[in-house]
């Protein structure tokens, strides 16, 4: 599969890493996934699997297709090739990038957290007392107990991100996908929310997060997928974030330009 990429052949020193880890009990299976915007691939021939209960950081240069891949897994973007299989699609919860949410919207903190129950209540049913209790517990877990009735417009960015995490807790998902959860968030909030992610990991949930800070990834994430449109490496974080792989990712990004030949694969 590697030799056929007419436009990127000379950038492929690490073909042996390019298929992801083989996994016996996958939460997500990716088979030769390609996603393109106006024919330019944003994710290109990605194959591999996320194990159930794994905690994986998704890293790569700007424009590497991290957000695109996450949205495709969630089912928000159509694939141009290949397939994505999610074992428990109903148990999937997603955190969009904070810029995609209207933070000035006239809603209270509690109303946002209650949206975590959407899959159980949909557009018409009421919240049960148990759901209300779980919303309150979720708010307490992110350190915002008692702020139920505050309008979200009055929150800081960090507080707002805590509210969105409380919504994820309320969803009680087995697979949690986070798109840039710590962008422009204060240090204290990052620590608290990372501790929460680690508790999710301990309780056996599968977590995937798109991130930028490599030292942070090395400190907290056992697994890592390094993406530069093409998968550069996928496996344990120590192996993946090697100097050679990071250089390969940068080299890949330098080759991105407006025009490209047709990919024969």
């Amino acid at each position: 599969m590697a030799v056929a990429h007419l436009h990127t052949d000379h950038h492929h020193p690490h073909t042996e890493h390019r298929a992801g880890p083989t996994v016996t009990d996958p939460a997500i299976m990716l088979a030769n996934v390609t996603i393109a915007y106006q024919r330019h691939p944003a994710v290109h021939h990605l194959t591999g699997a996320f194990a159930k209960g794994s905690l994986t950081a998704l890293v790569g240069p700007n424009g590497a297709g991290k957000s695109t891949l996450l949205k495709a897994i969630v089912g928000l973007l159509p694939l141009n090739g290949g397939s994505i299989e999610v074992a428990d699609r109903k148990g999937l919860a997603f955190l969009p990038q904070v810029t995609e949410v209207d933070r000035s919207f006239p809603m209270t903190v509690r109303e946002v957290v209650d949206l975590g129950h959407w899959r159980r209540i949909g557009a018409f049913r009421r919240l049960s007392p148990a759901m209300r209790a779980s919303s309150a517990a979720a708010l307490a877990e992110v350190g915002l107990a008692g702020l139920d009735d505050r309008p979200i417009a009055s929150l800081s960015v960090g507080q707002f991100q805590r509210v969105l995490f409380a919504r994820l807790i309320a969803a009680d998902a087995s697979l949690i996908i986070l798109d840039e959860p710590f962008n422009a968030i204060d240090q204290r909030t990052v620590q608290d929310l990372m501790a929460l992610i680690e508790r999710w990991h301990v309780s056996g949930r599968t977590v995937i997060a798109a991130l930028h800070d490599l030292d942070f990834v090395r400190a907290h994430f056992p697994d890592c997928l390094l993406l530069a449109r093409e998968p550069i490496a996928w496996g344990s974080t120590r192996d993946v974030l090697s100097a050679a792989n990071l250089a390969a990712a940068r080299g890949q990004a330098d080759g991105w330009s407006g025009d490209a030949d047709i990919c024969a694969a």
């Binding site: 928000l76 969009p96 949410v101 809603m107 557009a123």
Partner: protein, 289 residues
């Protein structure tokens, strides 16, 4: 005295009772329509669609005279055509959607006025632009009331999806919500209500009754539900005061109603509890924490 001012006109005149019913129907549905136009940042698009209706109404008038159904169907077709055309132009060319809407509605307005003047008088033109609340017929009244009831029921169905679609569309799609469908239904409701309002306030004044009370409500209410309730209430107050003013001072009712709504909006901008100008100028002593 108060009886003569407030109640007498409705006891004495059937046309005032009809106008009252029409105003109540239009005002109640204006609340949710206006609030969601505002939350979706589509107020200007509502205005553009209201203009886009005119050439269709004018062609209906040109072919069949002041016929309720000909004018309504013509308006509906023109409105949908402009909405689709502006979408197509925005997708396929470098022109942005707001520019293409503005271009189309200016042309629509010119075309509408031209067609009406080919056949009718200035009086007919005013009738089409600003409605004829005080001479609304049974058919027109039924159209207005039925559209309002249908719209309120439809809102009850799409409400939760529409709210989350405004707030966080990506999350809604991820959990399997029907945000895009709710948005489509909402657009259709706007068009239907603008067309129905031809009979009562005229489309231009009808869009005013949607946008002004909803904008005023944002200064006083902090949740979507209370904004809608307040939007409808303020629209109702505007409608009633405007109607009384029109009766006692012999003013055209549509503009009178929208001007009352405009006064309420201006008062809210100045004195509004959340973000009003006086709050900004005189914030008061700072709090303990």
């Amino acid at each position: 005295m108060i009886y003569d001012f407030l109640i007498g006109p409705f006891v004495d005149f059937a046309f005032m009772r009809r106008a009252l019913v029409a105003v109540i129907a239009v005002a109640l549905v204006s609340g949710p329509l206006g609030v969601f136009l505002q939350l979706r940042r589509m107020s200007l698009m509502g205005d553009a669609l209201a203009h886009a209706i005119l050439p269709g109404v004018a062609i209906g008038f040109f072919l069949f005279g002041l016929d309720l159904w000909a004018m309504s169907v013509g308006g509906l077709i023109a409105c949908l055509a402009v909405a689709l055309l502006s979408g197509v132009i925005a997708r396929l060319t470098p022109i942005k959607e707001d520019t293409s809407l503005a271009a189309l509605y200016l042309v629509s307005l010119a075309l509408g006025v031209l067609i009406v003047s080919l056949r009718g008088s200035t009086r007919d033109l005013l009738h089409i632009l600003f409605g004829s609340l005080l001479s609304i017929g049974s058919d027109g009244l039924i159209l207005v009331v039925a559209t309002a009831i249908l719209s309120l029921l439809a809102f009850a169905v799409i409400y939760r999806n529409l709210v989350v679609e405004c707030f966080d569309p990506t999350y809604l799609r991820a959990v399997g919500g029907r945000g895009a469908l709710a948005h489509m239904v909402f657009l259709i409701l706007i068009v239907l209500n603008l067309v129905a309002a031809i009979q009562a306030l005229g489309t231009l004044m009808a869009v005013g009754l949607m946008i002004l009370p909803a904008a005023a409500a944002r200064f006083w209410a902090r949740s979507v539900a209370s904004m809608i309730a307040l939007g409808s209430s303020l629209a109702l107050v505007s409608g009633l005061l405007g109607l009384m003013g029109s009766y006692h001072l012999d003013l055209p009712p549509g503009p009178a109603i929208v001007l009352v709504a405009g006064l309420i909006y201006a008062g809210s901008v100045i004195a509004g509890r959340f973000g009003g100008l006086t709050r900004r100028l005189f914030p008061g002593a700072h709090l303990q924490h």
